[in-house]
């Protein structure tokens, strides 16, 4: 590893990415950008696993294996989400998150 860079610095990066994802989910209007923010969060977490495995427990590979699975699942999820958003778009031809509030109360 590069000297001088401790686990906390890298961890800080991944946590920041995670909270950017959350912030994105809360503020953005467009459905696709919401999807992007969730993906951002998932990737930040994958990063976390790799960081912990690399820095704290170099001897084992559990972290890496986990992040691999995580990326695979995230992909599946995006595919499904896009499919549903498209079907929504086809019916309502708008992708704005706020006018999808017919179900409320």
């Amino acid at each position: 590893m590069i000297e001088g860079i401790t686990v906390y610095d890298v961890l800080a990066v991944s946590t920041i990415i995670f909270f950017i994802g959350i912030f994105g989910f809360v503020t953005r209007k467009n459905l696709i950008s919401l999807l992007i923010s969730t993906e951002l969060m998932l990737n930040a977490v994958a990063l976390n696993f790799v960081i912990f495995n690399k820095f704290l427990y170099p001897g084992q590979i559990q972290g890496y294996v986990f992040s691999l699975f995580l990326i695979a699942v995230a992909a599946a999820e995006v595919a499904l989400a896009i499919a549903i958003i498209i079907s929504l778009y086809r019916m309502d031809n708008s992708v704005d998150a706020d006018d999808m509030d017919t179900l409320k109360g």
Binding site: I22, F25, V26, T27, R28, L34, A97, D98, M100, D101, T102, L103, K104, G105
Partner: protein
């Protein structure tokens, strides 16, 4: 001591009569229920007379005083192991005397009613209630303990309610019945609380233990608890209030004039002879206790209530136009006499004169007052109106009623050889020896009594001849005979029965003699009263109007019974109804109910408040998700002490 078990039949017969006429009366022809009622009371009368004969004559004196015999005594219900509520028959001088009086007067009224009530639609119902009343009165009289007395006391109250409200389609009768029951019930509340206090402090209800020297009341001297009275004093005065209510004494008298709404025979039986004397009988029954506890201070209360009631009633009686109301107030006045006489009485020998006089007056008063009422009944029956102004000059048409009425008036005015003289005179003697002021009051009342009695006598039978659309005829024999019997008795009883020999507080024999020094003035004032009435009313004169206007406003007050009805009306309706019941109903509807509905309403509004939270926007869900999680996280961290907000 002789076997008195047959006395139970005095009760079984009227109860049987009540059940038969009550349940099957409507199915039988009307007359039959009349016969059944009269037959049962006749047999009861004979049995009562036999009891009196056997008790007073055969048993007589045992070791110098008359014994108390228990014909029956079983536990009816046990409150605790020691405190039991028993039913039984107690035979002692006053209870036997009362047995005779009640059965006799009831017999007379039964016979009279067969004539009076003929053709009335509720005929069987009347006789059923009469039997019920007789049973309850007899039960009250022979009670062995105070709770049994209360048991029958309430039954007497209810039967009087039923009888007063007999003509139930007349709203005034219904109101009168309700008023009678509620006022007496209010007084019974005092009676009941008195009993309950006794139940704890004296530990027993039995009369014999209550009045015995070594009993709980008289043996130890209890500390003063309330207004100088010991707990027993308080209990006894509360019990007296119960008696005063039933005997229509001063503050609780308002129901008696209205009770005249009932049929006249009912007034004769209940509001002349039996029910109204229940209070006097109660005080007589507990007389040793009243005399012993707190040095007899409660007796002063009894005496003064009697005095005030008699004066108050006598004044009002002078002004009334309805003859039955005059007789009602006269009854109240005479009972005031009896209460006073009990109040001034002592225990031993001559001092017991008041007690004996009161009982004797009760005995004689029952006779002549019943006669007066029945006489008034036959007059009303003939003239179909209660008001004296509609009557006059009836002497020619109704000879028997007129003469019997005259005899009764003479008796009540205390004219010698008539029974009233003997009993009232002894009361005046007892009062004179005890308290001059009381004697003076009673002396004046004696005069007023004579005046108002002869006022209605002359008003009904003499005075101006009125033209009657159909000439009034003498009442049929079945109504006239009781009048004659009662009249005969009123003349004979006074001197024939040496009452002192039979009824005394210490149950020893006492041979009183007429105290002429007091008798003459009382006869004089009686005669004066009669004379004034003669002037006023024998011939049609304007003298009564002039005198009453002379009295001016006070006459009006007396005529309206000193507005006591209105005061009670105000107290009952305004205070109790509007003053207490309405706020409670409002409180219940709004505050208590309001609180329950409020809880429901609050949850409803709270849920509408939260509606916005479920906005349907995914972004807001995401925000709530994360924000919620962070709040929980910080709370948990703070709880576990990982972080504190003190910076």
């Amino acid at each position: 001591m002789g076997d008195f078990t047959y006395t139970i039949w005095i009760f079984i017969l009227p109860i049987a009569a009540f059940l038969i006429t009550g349940l099957f009366g409507s199915k039988m022809p009307a007359k039959v229920s009349g016969w059944i009622g009269t037959a049962s009371i006749t047999v009861a009368l004979m049995l009562a007379l036999r009891t009196a004969y056997q008790y007073f004559i055969q048993v007589g004196f045992v070791e110098g005083h008359r014994p108390t015999v228990f014909a029956y005594k079983e536990v009816w219900m046990n409150f605790t192991e020691t405190l039991t509520f028993d039913m039984g028959i107690l035979i002692d001088p006053i209870s036997v005397m009362m047995l005779v009086v009640v059965t006799f007067i009831s017999f007379m009224v039964h016979v009279y009613s067969i004539g009076y009530m003929k053709g009335d639609k509720g005929y069987y119902r009347f006789f059923a209630f009469l039997s019920l009343f007789s049973v309850s009165m007899l039960g009250l009289v022979v009670a062995t303990n105070i709770f049994q007395m209360y048991f029958f006391w309430e039954l007497v109250g209810v039967s009087s309610y039923l009888l007063i409200g007999f003509y139930y389609d007349k709203p005034s009768a219904v109101a009168a019945a309700k008023k009678a029951f509620i006022v007496t019930r209010f007084a019974d509340l005092g009676f009941l609380i008195g009993i309950l206090l006794l139940s704890y402090h004296a530990g027993t209800f039995d009369f014999m233990t209550l009045v015995s020297e070594d009993g709980p009341l008289l043996a130890q001297s209890a500390p003063p608890v309330f207004m100088g009275l010991s707990i027993f004093g308080v209990a006894l005065s509360l019990i007296f209030i119960g008696g005063a209510g039933k005997s229509a004494m001063f503050p609780l008298h308002i129901w008696l004039p209205d009770a005249m709404e009932g049929p006249t025979p009912v007034s004769a039986l209940i509001h002349a002879a039996t029910m109204v004397v229940a209070g006097v009988y109660l005080v007589a029954r507990l007389f040793p206790a009243y005399h012993g506890v707190d040095g007899g201070v409660v007796l002063n209360l009894v005496a003064w209530t009697g005095a005030i009631s008699s004066l108050f009633a006598a004044i009002i009686a002078m002004t009334q136009d309805d003859i039955k109301r005059v007789l009602a107030f006269s009854t109240m006045s005479q009972i005031g006499y009896m209460m006073l006489s009990l109040g001034v009485s002592g225990m031993e020998g001559h001092h017991g004169l008041g007690y004996m006089a009161s009982m004797f007056h009760l005995f004689t008063h029952a006779m002549f007052k019943a006669l007066l009422f029945l006489g008034a009944g036959s007059v009303i029956h003939a003239v179909h109106s209660n008001l004296m102004s509609d009557m006059g000059g009836l002497h020619k048409h109704m000879k028997i009623t007129s003469w019997t009425f005259l005899i009764a008036c003479l008796a009540i005015s205390g004219i010698p050889i008539f029974s009233g003289f003997f009993s009232k005179d002894e009361i005046l003697v007892a009062a004179f020896e005890h308290n001059k002021v009381l004697w003076a009051i009673e002396y004046i009342v004696a005069g007023i009594t004579a005046f108002y009695m002869f006022r209605i006598y002359f008003g009904i039978f003499w005075g101006k001849r009125r033209e009657y659309h159909h000439t009034p005829h003498e009442s049929p024999m079945v109504m006239a005979i009781p009048l004659m019997i009662l009249a005969a008795l009123t003349m004979v009883v006074g001197w024939a029965i040496p009452f002192g020999n039979y009824v005394m507080p210490d149950r020893m024999a006492y041979h009183g003699h007429i105290e002429w020094s007091l008798a003459i003035p009382s006869v004089a004032i009686g005669a004066l009263g009669i004379f004034v009435a003669y002037i006023f009313y024998f011939k049609e004169t304007s003298l009564p109007e002039k005198v009453s206007s002379a009295f001016g406003q006070s006459y009006g007050w007396a005529k309206d019974k000193f507005y006591f009805d209105e005061i009670y009306q105000f107290f009952a309706h305004k205070m109790m109804f509007a003053g207490v019941a309405a706020p409670i109903a409002w409180f219940d509807r709004h505050v208590v109910d309001g609180f329950m509905n409020g809880v429901g309403w609050m949850t409803e509004t709270f849920s509408y408040l939260l509606e916005g939270w479920q906005s349907g926007k995914v972004r807001q869900y995401g925000f709530s998700f994360v924000a919620g999680l962070l709040v929980i996280l910080f709370a948990v961290l703070y709880l576990n002490g990982f972080i504190d907000f003190k910076g």
